[in-house]
């Protein structure tokens, strides 16, 4: 899969957060967006502001990603959209139904696969799917036919009659996704669909998600803190940090806002010591980041042309280049650009994890 190309067929959307959802709320049954949110706010009782004025719109048939670190408010947003949490303020519509006033209609139209892998391990895989079908009021004949279909899709057909307690983590996750499909929802919410899974399983799940959209036209709203996942799957992403949407747009478009190429280099001064001079005045530099670990990083318009000129200029100043790396911008760089920090820095980081736990506790 080419991770850098823009995905075609998606209307250009203003990048500024909050610029979406300007139009009137979508009506039920129309061609309007599958999801629509305006100034959605969730403040938990303990005062944690989990989601801060999120506005977005997801057209039908799109794979839309909420990208952000743990505790950024991604799951909270999903819980509000599937009517398990009441928004503190703002409005949201799912398939045209208002989440506050038409909660039952919303629940009857969407599927939800939580990050918890909520399968019942005292039942078999098929029984889990059967029960889910019953929870969605499907007749037994339909359940029987579709459970074979969804179990085959996630490659669990041959293990369907084994107890889930004998399944591996990846199999449980696939079963959970199969359950989310039994009622053929128009919109499927996937909360961290590949959290903690190995790379082969992750790729397979990406393939299922792609297939769902391709073959059934399901609108998919997923959250992730994996850049590669958002890059590989999503038509558009919203970058969310501390409960705020800081950027929203097609992945290729977001990358273009970062600029041309990201250059990272390490320099030595005339005395042989590492230095990190100001680079803003160098030829072609569009945006410079704070130096980290003795390395400079900045964005240039056209790396192939600008880097030799930069090296020449640095040489004139008596600086020697120790190492140089240049890459086309990835979503990591987009995240860095909009939040001023790297996404992966936050993973497992102390304070961040604490906020995330506080949010989880408040949610329960």
């Amino acid at each position: 899969m080419d991770h850098t190309t823009d995905k075609p067929g998606v209307a250009a959307t203003p990048l500024a957060a909050g610029a979406a959802a300007e139009a009137a709320p979508p009506a039920v049954g129309g061609d309007g967006p599958a999801l629509w949110a305006k100034d959605l706010v969730k403040r938990y009782r303990r005062g944690v502001l989990a989601v801060d004025q999120a506005s977005f719109e997801v057209p039908r048939g799109e794979i839309f990603g909420f990208l952000g670190p743990n505790g950024a408010g991604k799951s909270t947003t999903i819980l509000m959209l599937i009517t398990l949490l009441r928004p503190t303020a703002g409005q949201a519509r799912v398939c045209g139904y208002d989440v506050a006033r038409r909660a039952d209609a919303v629940r009857r139209s969407v599927g939800y696969v939580s990050q918890d892998i909520a399968v019942d391990d005292t039942l078999t895989g098929r029984q889990n799917v059967y029960l889910q079908g019953r929870f969605y009021h499907l007749p037994p004949r339909v359940i029987a036919a579709r459970s074979a279909e969804v179990l085959a899709m996630v490659d669990l057909a041959d293990r369907a009659d084994d107890l889930v307690s004998t399944y591996s983590g990846g199999m449980r996750k696939r079963l959970d996704i199969a359950e989310g499909l039994i009622h053929r929802p128009a919109v499927l919410f996937l909360d961290e669909p590949t959290l903690g899974l190995d790379i082969q399983t992750r790729r397979r799940i990406w393939e299922y998600i792609e297939r769902l959209r391709r073959e059934q036209g399901i609108t998919i709203f997923l959250t992730t803190h994996y850049m590669d996942e958002a890059d590989a799957l999503c038509d558009r992403v919203a970058i969310i940090d501390h409960g705020r949407i800081v950027a929203i747009g097609a992945t290729g478009e977001l990358k273009r806002t970062v600029g041309g190429d990201l250059v990272t280099l390490k320099l030595r001064g005339p005395d042989g010591r590492p230095v990190t001079p100001d680079v803003a005045d160098l030829p072609g530099v569009e945006h410079a980041y704070e130096p980290r670990d003795g390395a400079l990083s900045f964005v240039v318009k056209d790396g192939e042309r600008d880097v030799p000129r930069i090296l020449a200029t640095l040489g004139e100043r008596g600086l020697v280049c120790d190492s140089l790396a240049m890459k086309r911008p990835s979503l990591d760089d987009v995240f860095l650009h909009f939040t001023g920090r790297e996404l992966r820095q936050d993973e497992g980081g102390g304070s961040f994890w604490r906020t995330s736990m506080a949010v989880r506790r408040a949610r329960r």
Partner: protein, 271 residues
Amino acid sequence: MSEAVVKPAVVVPVPRGNLLVDTWWVCWRELKHYVGQPMRIFMTLFQPLVWLVLMGNMYQRIAAVPGFPAKSYLDYMAPGIVVMVTLFGGMFTGMSVVWDRRLGFLHKMLAAPLARSAVVTGKMLAAGIQAIIQGLVILLIALAMGVKFSAGIGGVPLLLLLAALLCLVLTGFSLALAAVVTTHETLMALVNFFTMPLMFTSNAMMPTQFMPTWLADIARVNPISFAINPMRTLFLSGYDVAGLVEGFLILGALVAVMAFIASSLFRRGMA
């Protein structure tokens, strides 16, 4: 890849359900848990036997005390054991909610278009069915041990129905606790805090006339006593229509109140 995308799915909401059907499917899962664990079935059947043998013999000579209402203590306490086992079973139902919450299954059920009260009523129904099975087993063991069931075969359904209603009251209470308390340690502590006092401030094991006045007063208003009095009459003397009607009415009302409180507490946290 996007070229092949089919027309976006048309929104076709799944049908609405109704409380009775949804209750059954929540209950179905609980019953599957029960039959899926042979050890658990064995223990729920074996435990009453231990209680009957142990306690029946321990207090055997109390029956000789003047004023004791039954010929043998075993006759007196057999309905007490039915109530005791029902009490323990019912009070622990909340634990399954705490687990469901922790595993994410509670969210899964609430995200589905299930009737909002079905999680509560389904778990109540499952506990009630278990109470009936256990009550029947205890009755059979007691009969085998020589206890007389004066009401005869026609009284059996009444006995089991009383046990089931009591179980629903306690399950409702336990679920209400579980709606508020989210860790199993805390819920365990609360359940234990309520279970034993409920048991020993009732006349399940000891007649009220053997208690100090203040304790006898508590025993008279203890919901457990409202189940045990008509049950005991079925064992010791047969039918007492007024007592049965009173028992059914009070327990029925308590079931409705508890189910309402538990469902409202569950709904409160959700949209």
